[in-house]
């Protein structure tokens, strides 16, 4: 690249755009081969990490916690006052869920979780975050226009409800404890867990009797 005094950043241009990959699949294949060959990464560890978050750790964990809280008032109380220990009772916790706080929805209060600065998310109870949670539209607007964001998700809240937005700026990870839907008194804990969606535990939806499960 030739030097162009009218464009002082021209010499930086090539470097800046190295970050944008023409074909990430090829690049990652080469990186994996290098890092394994150098002994920096163990391929079995790689496979186990991926398998854990594709198949083992996900919103089902959070749904079980919520369903337990709905059916067991003593557990609900422990969950709100000592969340890490209460979550560990069900066998969950650890990476990106070391310091949990449960925020409880009520008829008067609706909670919404975001990370405006990056993509912090309670992996231990919800798995890895969906793309929309990590996206600029959600991160930028959740704090300034939470009601507009909720409307985009199909949730219109009355003015009388207080909206609390939790920006995950530190290592504390937030999980919304949704309201138990009316008319579910006859359901078992497992049946209730099936109503608890990921979206309800982030706060962009409510749990409904017609919930489509935690994967939705």
């Amino acid at each position: 690249m030739t030097s162009d005094p009218s464009h002082p950043h021209a010499h930086d241009h090539k470097h800046e755009h190295q970050a944008v990959l023409s074909d990430p699949a090829l690049r990652v294949k080469a990186l994996e081969s290098l890092l394994v060959e150098k002994g920096l990464v163990d391929r079995a560890a790689l496979d186990a990490l991926i398998d854990t978050y594709e198949h083992k750790v996900g919103p089902r964990n959070g749904a079980r916690i919520v369903a337990r809280a709905w059916t067991d008032p003593a557990y609900r109380q422990r969950l709100l006052t000592n969340p890490d220990a209460a979550i560990a009772e069900l066998g969950y916790g650890g990476m990106q869920g070391e310091h949990m706080v449960l925020v409880e929805n009520t008829p008067q209060v609706h909670n919404l979780v975001v990370c405006t600065l990056c993509s912090c998310y309670p992996w231990a109870v919800l798995g890895l975050p969906p793309v929309w949670y990590k996206s600029a539209p959600y991160r930028s607007r959740a704090v300034i226009d939470p009601r507009g964001v909720l409307r985009e998700f199909g949730l219109e809240l009355p003015e009388s409800v207080e909206v609390r937005v939790w920006d995950s700026t530190a290592e504390i990870r937030y999980l919304v404890l949704p309201e138990r839907p009316a008319g579910t008194e006859h359901l078992s804990e497992d049946e209730l867990a099936a109503l608890v969606t990921r979206d309800a535990m982030v706060g962009v939806a409510k749990a409904t009797p017609a919930g489509k499960g935690a994967a939705a």
């Binding site: 081969s33 290098l34 150098k38 002994g39 163990d42 607007r141 704090v143 909206v163 700026t169 530190a170």
Partner: protein
């Protein structure tokens, strides 16, 4: 740093694109990238805060254009090179330098489950007194460091109320730059929507931000 990552309160980013039945990874390379960086983190050559800062340093236009895991690749390349785990020529060619030693990975397949279930707590068990009390009114300082910080721009200079003391945690602003953990209290601070966004905002709504002692002053 006041870069593109600090986007809370911005307009103009468009509608939220929601994908039904979204897979955990959208392509095998995303999964491999997730695994590679998670495994590379286990060398302990950089902190989570340093990793976040590396991603923040991606130029703004690229930051908005790149897919999430592309940012992970970019950060992994830079951190591997700057920490000396690999050379830039190696990271670009995918071929180990002639005669370079073969190392032993710190994380094996058998260790993954324990590593995940233990996590990496950011709390520190040191007797450090909180500078503020629950219920106290505090102002987030107006600071604009060029390094890493977790004090978002939209909260700077704003007054809120301490709702909860989360205990003593390491401090990202120093921890990201190998300047020590500087453990201190983190609080959940309630800022009313009107304090942050003006009179047009809902009189009921609030944003809770987790902030460290060093970010705060009495109001």
């Amino acid at each position: 740093m006041n870069s593109m990552h600090d986007m809370g309160g911005m307009h103009g980013m468009g509608p939220i694109e929601y994908e039904r039945n979204e897979p955990v990874f959208h392509a095998p390379w995303e999964a491999r990238t997730f695994g590679l960086l998670s495994a590379m983190n286990c060398w302990g050559k950089w902190t989570l805060d340093a990793l976040r800062h590396q991603i923040e340093k991606i130029p703004a236009a690229d930051y908005l254009r790149m897919m999430y895991y592309e940012k992970w690749i970019a950060a992994m390349v830079e951190l591997a090179v700057s920490s000396g785990l690999a050379t830039r020529a190696e990271m670009e060619s995918g071929i180990p330098a002639p005669g370079s030693p073969r190392l032993t990975p710190p994380l094996t397949g058998a260790m993954v489950a324990d590593m995940i279930s233990q996590g990496a707590p950011s709390t520190r068990n040191v007797p450090i007194a909180p500078r503020f009390k629950t219920g106290q009114r505090v102002r987030a300082r107006n600071i604009n460091p060029i390094g890493h910080t977790r004090l978002p721009r939209y909260a700077r200079g704003k007054v809120g109320t301490i709702e909860r003391d989360h205990g003593v945690h390491l401090f990202p602003d120093t921890n990201a730059h190998s300047l020590g953990e500087k453990p201190q209290h983190v609080y959940s601070i309630r800022f009313t929507a009107r304090e942050l966004w003006g009179d047009a905002a809902s009189p009921r709504d609030a944003v809770y931000v987790d902030l460290w002692d060093d970010y705060l002053e009495p109001a």
